[in-house]
């Protein structure tokens, strides 16, 4: 076991899978020689060769579209999008091909592709470098979407994603790339896609979050102390959602809150609330609460604090919901 950051765990998983499966290829803008702008793929080109770990022209449609072709011809491509805010020019390939080729070809051409992209705010970045675009992937049938919040899950989920025969979008919470270290097994292991993790059991209120925001939520819960018995769930997989775990929890607690970085309207919170309605309506003791960004464009850093929610705000909302009669 080694102590790794989330970034280190991703690098380790990529390295291991490149080693074990000669069909795995890793590529993207600056992902080869220098190892990516965040150095997530550092050292991989040197070790695995520049045919399997390589730099691309700036062309997201080609990066993602070529993955379709590589997958059709037997590879397991892992393209990187430099920042999730730059996925738009390649979204066509994701929505109309990567998500659909298996179904279109009635199983002849499955798409074992993992699209990696750093996402999320709070890093004092320029425009388009702070987006949380979960909805744009979770709404498209045929895709999976996972988001690790810990180094352990980062490696396990990525390994599972690479071995999955369906396309997986892998969001990397860049704010916590190097925030802390955790013991991560050297050997291969998988964290199953589609299973949430109960971070902390509780009986008064269920809170669901993921990615960097999970840690803000944890902080809020810690700050609130023992007065509140909160069940905290790390959703981990956004699509397909682990509805069951969430519903079970709400049946127990009767109160539901979701915390995310994305804007409110049609954020993942809206889907979770709908599912909680469908699965635990008569257990609800209060209206579900969404703690999210408002429906505005992510501001530049001097205004970003008005957009992204923090532990203080989360704690405030938890108190309100817990005390609601």
């Amino acid at each position: 076991m080694a102590k790794l950051t989330l970034l280190g765990a991703i690098n380790n998983a990529l390295d291991q899978q490149l080693e074990k499966d000669k069909n795995v290829v890793v590529y993207g803008e600056d992902a080869g020689f220098e190892g990516g702008v965040f150095r997530v793929t550092k050292g991989l080109q040197k070790k695995h060769g520049k045919d399997r770990v390589f730099d691309t022209p700036i062309s997201e449609a080609a990066i993602l579209g070529s993955a379709v072709g590589m997958a059709a011809n037997g590879l397991r491509p892992i393209p990187e999008i430099q920042f999730s805010g730059f996925m738009f020019p390649g979204y066509n390939q994701i929505a109309v091909h990567i998500a659909r080729m298996r179904n279109r070809s009635r199983g002849k051409y499955p798409m074992p592709i993992v699209v990696r992209m750093p996402y999320g705010g709070g890093v004092r970045a320029l425009e388009h470098h702070s987006e949380s675009l979960e909805t744009l992937f979770a709404h498209i049938p045929g895709l999976k979407l996972v988001i690790p919040a810990t180094p352990y899950d980062a490696k396990g989920l990525l390994t599972a994603a690479i071995k999955d025969n369906d396309p997986v979008i892998y969001f990397e919470p860049k704010k916590i790339y190097r925030a802390f270290k955790q013991e991560v097994p050297e050997e291969e292991y998988e964290v199953p896609i589609g299973k949430a993790r109960i971070v902390k059991e509780g009986s008064d209120l269920t809170v669901v979050s993921w990615g960097a925001m999970l840690h803000e939520t944890q902080k809020a819960i810690k700050d609130l102390g023992d007065d509140y018995s909160i069940e905290l769930i790390d959703l981990r997989t956004i699509a397909p959602m682990d509805t069951k775990t969430v519903i079970e929890s709400v049946k127990k607690t009767g109160r539901f809150m979701v915390v995310h970085e994305a804007v409110k309207t049609l954020g993942i919170g809206s889907e979770l609330i709908s599912r909680v309605n469908e699965g635990a309506f008569f257990h609800l003791e209060a209206q579900p609460t969404r703690v999210t960004a408002p429906d505005i464009t992510v501001p530049l850093p001097k205004g970003e604090h008005h957009h992204i929610v923090d532990a203080k705000r989360i704690a405030h909302e938890i108190k309100k919901l817990a005390h609601f009669e």
Binding site: P57, A61, M70, A72, N73
Partner: protein, 362 residues
């Protein structure tokens, strides 16, 4: 090398066959065995008849709207005949002739235009990608398939098609460029059939030829008479050799014409004159090739009559078979979206099946 002789910037177009099926360009006449020549011809005729019939079925409401291939058979059969079985075809949506040559069955082709995804599940050893509707995106798929071929040293090359209108698309640009950067074994054939739906070729781009776009990617480009099946064969063969030698992609502009409507929902009389169509009908690629074969004593009237009759029967019977399949079942709709169906989707499927049962009487 062939490509050095025809400079698209000077509008030099490559051809070997004239309207009467005579060879005008001995230097570049391809060397094709007789059986292959006849097979090429037969497939062109099959594609034509399947097309004419499908138009008819469609007008009767028995098939969906579809994209007829009439007039473009040469730029599809020539390249496919020049390719190996293991080489890939990455079509756009108007490549029925090419697909049939590469081993897609007529039944599959028809099933697709009948509105059934099973028509895109070709046999396992057929290296053809499904029909690709979003313009240009297939070029990136071709680049990826070729990248994999190169990495695996499989010896495969990839041929992809795009229309004249499609060359304006960003996906075309990125795909050809991507392939060129890694010198992958890939040949991009632009079927310049003069129109993108109603929009004439001149509105796609101010470039005088589409072949000259090759220089943007540092690869060879050539303009070819797209109604000359031998020229298309030869240009593709040389391009495939380059590809397999590691010399990278080639861009071929096939100058041709769509004799039919864009799709069955289209009324070409709005945007083009019948005289223009007539001019191109004179250059019909099948007629030209038939003359060539007759000149070479490989074809005659009797053979033609027999072929026409047999093919028509085959096409009619195939369509009848396809028509019998009708609407398809719930499993087909739900079961191919993922390898293993996620729980929530399973629940949706069960709920739907339950509804179907409950509502039977309603």
């Amino acid at each position: 090398m062939l490509f050095d002789h025809y400079d698209p910037l000077k509008k030099e177009m490559f051809g070997v066959l004239d309207k009467d099926g005579k060879i005008t360009n001995k230097d570049f006449e391809p060397d094709i065995d007789d059986d292959t020549l006849v097979h090429m011809y037969k497939t062109m005729v099959l594609a034509r008849i399947a097309d004419v019939k499908a138009l008819q079925y469609q007008r009767q409401g028995r098939m969906l709207t579809f994209a007829p291939v009439q007039g473009q058979e040469a730029c599809q059969i020539g390249p496919m005949a020049a390719s190996a079985k293991s080489d890939w075809l990455v079509p756009a949506f108007r490549e029925a002739a090419a697909m049939l040559y590469k081993g897609v069955s007529l039944k599959q082709a028809y099933l697709y235009w009948f509105g059934n995804e099973r028509g895109s599940r070709y046999d396992d050893d057929v290296n053809v990608m499904p029909i690709n509707v979003p313009i240009g995106s297939q070029v990136n798929h071709a680049a990826g398939i070729a990248y994999a071929a190169k990495l695996k040293k499989s010896g495969e090359a990839v041929i992809t098609y795009i229309g004249d209108g499609g060359t304006s698309h960003g996906e075309f640009h990125e795909g050809v460029n991507f392939g060129a950067v890694y010198s992958v074994p890939m040949v991009t054939i632009i079927q310049n059939n003069q129109y993108a739906i109603s929009t004439p070729r001149e509105l796609a781009t101010k470039a005088k030829t589409l072949a000259q776009k090759a220089s943007s990617y540092g690869i060879p480009g050539i303009q070819v008479d797209g109604n000359d099946v031998l020229a298309m064969y030869e240009a593709t063969k040389v391009a495939l050799e380059r590809a397999k030698n590691g010399d990278g992609p080639t861009l071929i502009e096939a100058v041709t014409y769509r004799l039919g409507p864009h799709t069955t929902s289209d009324d070409p009389s709005i945007y083009r004159k019948e005289t223009e169509v007539e001019e191109w009908r004179e250059k019909d690629p099948i007629t030209r090739f038939k003359k060539y074969l007759s000149n070479r004593k490989l074809w005659n009237k009797d053979k033609e009559e027999k072929l026409q009759e047999e093919t028509k029967k085959f096409v009619t019977n195939t369509f009848k078979e396809v028509e019998k399949t009708g609407q398809y079942g719930v499993d087909d709709v739900y079961d191919y979206n993922y390898e293993t169906m996620p729980d929530d989707l399973k629940a949706q499927k069960e709920a739907y099946l339950a509804y179907l049962k409950e509502s039977e009487g309603e």
